[in-house]
Symmetry: C2
Subunit: 137 residues, 2 copies
DNA sequence: ATACCAGTTTATAATGATTCTAAAGTATTT
DNA sequence: AAATACTTTAGAATCATTATAAACTGGTAT
């Protein structure tokens, strides 16, 4: 597990006070080589198991939104009752298994760059997201 | 405005009883050459203005879900507080203006076919949706 | 026509994710 | 150490959507 000091510095640099709760959430989210997808309720469960600590639901929401604003997380556009987040903030796309409610990364090599030929006057493209819904064969 | 008999037949063919409410919603949704995007609350407003009739919110939800199941509507994957539907059921993609909460169609010629090179054993692709988020320049 | 049945509509309540509130707590600055 | 600004928190509020169950209606058989 990465030591707190590294997260403390990371948080400070972003203008976020390094509180106990934020450090704990950093550890749960970023203390792994593999990136992953999660919902808020997934994260609450992870905090309860990985860290033996209870963080208020409001704080979890606050923190995730703060991290998203700082660019440490990305929200993924899916129509689902819950919002999904991704610790992989690079440009990439997703499979979504609607049965298992599971997201799977598509690497850059899995999808050719999507070129959008249409332009809207006065508007610029912020992001291009491809969502591939999959189902059992 | 298309006459009711045509919608009555269309509904019957799909195994849906042609009720007053369903016919009215058909007229509001399909009585136009141009397809469009809407949320449930958009639709409720449309029904109130175009048709001078009140349809219960529960019925609007029921009907839209029935129409979606029959393939007369498509749900669009966006992370938004409300779900968006599209009367254009052909394969196409979208711009989404997050400020104005507005969807704009991308025609086939605006986006090259998206080829997905990755496969998941036992799973087949159901849909490929591209969502292009746009913002003021 | 009439009566019946399955499918529909409806008002209202329930649900559930998310956001708000405002009081108590904590990091940082003076 | 005190002041200040930012955070956390429990619980309430919000809001889209879904569930409930009673009243209603279209289609069919009599």
């Amino acid at each position: 597990m990465l030591s707190s000091p590294e997260y403390i510095e990371k948080l400070r640099k972003s203008g976020l006070r390094p509180t106990k709760q934020r450090i704990k959430i950093c550890q749960v989210l970023f203390d792994t080589k593999k990136t992953f997808h999660f919902t808020i309720s997934d994260l609450v469960k992870l905090i309860e198991t990985k860290a033996n600590e209870k963080i208020s639901l409001a704080t979890v929401y606050n923190t995730i939104h703060a991290f998203e604003k700082k660019g440490y997380l990305k929200e993924i556009s899916i129509n689902s009752s819950q919002t999904y987040f991704d610790t992989n903030t690079t440009n990439h796309h997703h499979f979504f298994d609607e049965k298992q409610k599971e997201l799977i990364d598509l690497e850059d090599i899995d999808v050719d760059p999507v070129k959008i030929k249409k332009t809207i006057p006065g508007k610029k493209i912020k992001s291009v997201e491809v969502l591939v819904k999959i189902d059992s064969e």
